[in-house]
Symmetry: C2
Subunit: 165 residues, 2 copies
């Protein structure tokens, strides 16, 4: 329900075409919201017909013409309203956590490698964020070696005691 709003933010930063937005959603705003070009084109259509954004045909040489979108008054209002709503239920979908919990019924060792891989990915991304933001890096942290996680991991996570392990 928020792709519209992510697009509004991006168009306020700089007007652009569907194609350009799709590029931005590969980085920049895409770090916070993912979307494919299909979705973007479809939502742009709707936003335009709702009067949230304006279109301008821009002829180009040496490449196809494009439609440049910019935020209309109605769009700004809609964005402002959304910004003032509290964010709610935050629906969680965390594959890795489900797998970790499922590991009790399979081979935990294989998952540990996967967890470490993800830790690496997230560390790298954090470094990337910080490098770009100009904020000085906090003291680097590393994952503490597992202490007593091996047997305690099922204690609250599992609704009931697993029958295998």
């Amino acid at each position: 329900m928020a792709l519209e709003h992510a697009i509004l933010v991006s168009l306020l930063e700089k007007p652009g075409s569907g194609y350009e937005l799709a590029r931005r959603f590969e980085r920049s705003i895409g770090y916070f919201w993912t979307a494919t070009h299909q979705q973007i084109y479809r939502v742009l259509k709707r936003m335009e017909s709702d009067g949230w954004i304006d279109v301008r045909e821009v002829p180009q040489q040496a490449r196809p013409d494009k439609k440049e979108y910019s935020v209309a008054a109605l769009g700004r209002t809609a964005l402002a309203e959304w910004l003032h709503e509290p964010i709610e239920p935050e629906s969680v979908r965390h594959d890795l956590a489900v797998k970790i919990r499922g590991a009790a019924f399979d081979d935990p060792a294989a998952l540990i490698r996967e967890v470490e891989r993800h830790h690496q990915i997230h560390s790298d991304r954090l470094a990337h964020y910080l490098a770009g933001s100009g904020v000085t890096s906090p003291a680097p942290r590393r994952l503490p070696r597992p202490t007593r996680a091996r047997n305690s991991s099922t204690s609250y996570c599992a609704a009931a005691s697993p029958t295998s392990a």
Copy 2:
């Protein structure tokens, strides 16, 4: 694509009905994957017709009968396969981050309260996790007061310099 697998994990921990699963998805496994009862019932149907799970009609007194599901051999195989696949693109959808970025075009002060509210919610949840897991709490951390975030926040976040602020 992973609700099936979350259900398999939950049913391995303890067989149960659609209704009971829906309860579990309100806590326990629900911390990692959200699902409504509608979704659960629909997926259970499919899993059953695919032979991933077995059903057993359980007559009850003083309440409606229920169908108790348990994991079949095919289900265990499917889960094992899934556990060994690497997790990929991790599609990100982070309302709060989009709002923070949009705040440059609106009232940043209002959002600060929202951010603090969320920090509180996450701290509480972390405490809850740790309390349940038996892991000793790490040194409590608090958000550093904003240092120079006010003007640097747009540097890499924004694809282009915002024209208002």
